[in-house]
């Protein structure tokens, strides 16, 4: 298309109308490509956490980096917890007790739905020993996912807060660029941290595994233009998963297990984008249409007298 002569470009303007009719046909062809949604499944070997330890109580793990998230967007989980991290004797004991419960063996991620508003489902599966029920009864536990959203994808902090109110999440927050309206070219990345409760209900009956699912509603910004239009594949960022528990008897510190998940296959969101080659003819036709409409109304207002009043005179 780029190699077309100016004559060819003019010819393209003429076939726009044909394209519009053809676009219906195009949709049928494209829908298979765009609508596909392959789950991304990662097996994590032994499932031992990459970090264990204890933290003083804080609402969000990402809090310390608020306002400076750009420097920390690639932080590993150990760096994320940073100086707050404690490993005292009592902590080691608590970690040891819970370690067998939280062996993260599988992470599955899906993009659910189609179009500009989808849900990112992350399922965490843990091995589940026989004493799981008693441990969960003694502790208050929650799974935490930290999603580094790629440029062009955002989460609505107010939508998340409504989900918190409805009890879907224990807590959720967005850090970074929370502007909901700007297109990709004028916005920055953001990070979502969501917490869900882990309870006895999460133990599955069949294989005695423990499964936690977190479904984040995500939205797309208008992507930058791309030659030829088509679709821009936005690859979802890496996930950091954590589990934190605190003893119901001694709730002053969180016992924490964290995993850095490097997905073996990518999860891609196909987003339609505008074609810069359309710019010229779209502008011309837009302004001509506005002018024609304005002139028609102008003429109609000016000639109003002859259309109505004369008929009344007669």
């Amino acid at each position: 298309m780029q190699g077309l002569s100016p004559m060819g470009n003019r010819y393209r303007y003429l076939i726009v109308a044909t394209c519009m009719i053809m676009s219906l046909f195009e949709i049928v062809c494209c829908s298979q490509k765009v609508g596909s949604c392959n789950p991304c499944k990662d097996f994590l070997g032994s499932g031992d956490p990459h970090v264990t330890g204890c933290l003083s109580p804080q609402k969000f793990l990402f809090d310390p980096y608020f306002g400076n998230y750009d420097d920390h967007i690639e932080l590993k989980i150990k760096d994320l917890i940073g100086e707050e991290f404690l490993l005292s004797e009592s902590c080691e004991e608590a970690v040891h007790r819970l370690r067998s419960l939280f062996k993260l063996t599988v992470i599955e991620r899906h993009l659910i739905g189609e179009g500009s508003h989808r849900r990112l489902l992350s399922s965490l599966k843990f091995d589940c020993p026989s004493d799981a029920i008693s441990v969960l009864e003694d502790h208050f536990c929650e799974a935490v996912v930290i999603e580094r959203l790629p440029l062009g994808v955002f989460a609505d902090p107010f939508e998340l807060s409504h989900l918190v109110q409805r009890g879907v999440f224990q807590d959720a927050a967005v850090f970074g660029d929370t502007n909901l309206e700007l297109p990709s070219a004028l916005s920055n990345q953001s990070i979502v941290e969501a917490h869900v409760k882990i309870g006895i209900d999460n133990i599955s009956g069949q294989n005695r595994g423990l499964e936690v699912s977190i479904e984040l509603p995500l939205h797309i910004r208008y992507p930058p233009l791309g030659a030829g239009g088509g679709y821009l594949g936005i690859e979802m960022g890496r996930l950091q998963a954590l589990v934190r528990c605190r003893s119901r008897a001694k709730p002053s510190q969180w016992i924490l297990f964290g995993w850095d998940v490097k997905p073996s296959s990518s999860l891609v969101w196909q987003v339609p984008r505008g074609d810069p080659a359309h710019a010229e003819f779209v502008s011309v036709i837009t302004f001509v249409s506005a002018l024609v409409s304005a002139l028609l109304i102008f003429y109609s207002a000016i000639s109003y007298h002859s259309l109505v009043d004369n008929s009344k005179d007669s």
Partner: protein
């Protein structure tokens, strides 16, 4: 009729609560959640602009504070009450203009039972408040209460800005010919035949223009302009004092400079998206503003004397040529439609029906492409933009049809004409005796 529409709205609010709790697709408008969040912030003595995308006057957030104290549906009740009030005001305006009862009932019903309008209020959209205030301003003007009209006009422009387009026609009707000091204006009755000289014509338009330029500074105009301006600046100044530049940027300046690259009914959306990375030149901004300005001016100078009709045409044109169009904007002219219907010669079968179907068809056609882009993620920018152009042409067609079928009827009788009619009546009476 009012009772039935009240029950209908109440039932829809209750149904909305149920749908929100049980279904994935919410009944409640997303904007209502924004208003409610802003109101919750106000209740906590914080700025309503802490809620991103809250781009309204803080008055709205104050009005909805009971949402977080009494019940989340409080705002919907307020908006639906305003929606019913619009029905009452439509009836009042038509009664003042001497419209027969059967036509009045038909016109009021066209608002109260319009599925588009009764869902707007019950879903939590604040536009019925604006509609009610605009109609109340018309009533005040018809009753000669200029100060009260100015008060509400200053308020509504602060509240929603777009009624600023009504300033010129309002100032035009406030002429010395229509309003005399210490005298109520004389209204033209629905069935009353006009003096030939008062009919709309190009000569008359030019005469109005010349008269406006030469005699603009009448007492009524100065009073209206200064008082409404003072009220506007009072509210704006108060909230600027309370919330600073955040208020000014979000609630006022944003609306004046808004260009949205995301898809909406406006013909400009794809053009804006295709150029958003580079920005827009002054020339481009002027070129896109010119059709809007030209159409507004011609409609005002041609039809200002028939004030409700002029406001209706202006609003339809303003929405059609706007850089951003969302479905809620249609309410702005839906509330003015019932007060022009009795003067229309358009027959419901088939002219009216065809106009309605054409307008709705163009909208549904656009919505189909919009759905494919937004909810199916398909690259349909070109067909969607083409659908926007079709929608503009359907708006234009309907607007022209409405103009052609309208019986021009100035709201006010010229003082000289009313004296002439009075003297004729006296002569006739004397003749009878």
């Amino acid at each position: 009729m009012m009772l039935l529409s009240g029950v209908l709205r109440l039932a829809l609010i209750v149904y909305g609560e149920w749908q929100d709790a049980h279904m994935e697709v919410r009944y409640t408008d997303v904007d209502y959640l924004v208003f409610s969040d802003a109101a919750a912030l106000v209740a906590m003595k914080k700025s309503p602009f802490g809620r991103s995308t809250y781009r309204y006057s803080p008055i709205l957030a104050y009005l909805l504070v009971p949402n977080s104290v009494v019940h989340p549906s409080w705002g919907k009740l307020i908006f639906s009450a305003a929606d019913l009030l619009v029905g009452v005001f439509i009836n009042s305006i038509l009664k003042l203009r001497g419209v027969p009862e059967h036509l009045r009932i038909f016109s009021v019903a066209s608002w109260l039972f319009n599925p588009f309008t009764f869902t707007i209020g019950t879903r939590g959209n604040c536009e019925p408040i604006v509609c009610a205030v605009v109609l109340w301003i018309i009533i005040c003007l018809m009753k000669g209460k200029i100060l009260q009209a100015a008060f509400w006009y200053g308020f509504v422009v602060h509240f929603r800005i777009y009624p600023i387009i009504y300033s010129l026609p309002i100032l035009l009707v406030l002429s010395a010919d229509n309003f005399q000091p210490d005298r109520k204006p004389v209204l033209m009755s629905w069935g009353q035949k006009q003096q030939k000289s008062s009919r709309s014509s190009i000569k008359r338009t030019i005469k109005i223009l010349v008269s406006v330029i030469l005699n603009f500074a009448t007492r009524q105009r100065i009073l209206f302009a200064f008082f409404s301006g003072a009220i506007f600046f009072l509210w704006t100044g108060l909230f600027f004092y309370l919330y600073g530049w955040e208020f000014l940027n979000e609630a006022l300046l944003y609306h004046l400079t808004r260009t949205d690259p995301r898809h909406n009914f406006s013909i400009y959306f794809y053009h804006v998206y295709l150029h958003h990375e580079l920005g827009f030149s002054v020339l481009e901004k002027l070129v896109s503003f010119f059709p809007q300005l030209a159409v507004q001016l011609v409609l005002v100078f041609r039809f200002a004397e028939d004030l409700p009709f002029c406001l209706f045409l202006q609003t339809v044109a303003f929405v059609a040529f706007n850089k951003v169009i969302t479905a809620q904007y249609f309410v702005w002219f839906f509330c003015l439609l019932p007060i022009i219907l009795p003067w229309s010669n358009m027959k419901l079968r088939w002219e009216g029906l065809i106009s309605l179907l054409l307008w709705m068809g163009a909208q549904i056609h656009w919505l189909m492409w919009g759905y494919l882009l937004e909810f199916k993620g398909l690259n349909v920018f070109i067909p969607l933009w083409f659908a926007s152009i079709l929608f503009l042409f359907s708006n234009t067609w309907v607007l022209i049809k409405v103009i052609r079928c309208h019986r021009f009827s100035p709201v006010f009788q010229k003082v000289s004409e009313s004296n002439y009619i009075k003297s004729r009546k006296i002569n006739n009476n004397e003749g009878l005796h």
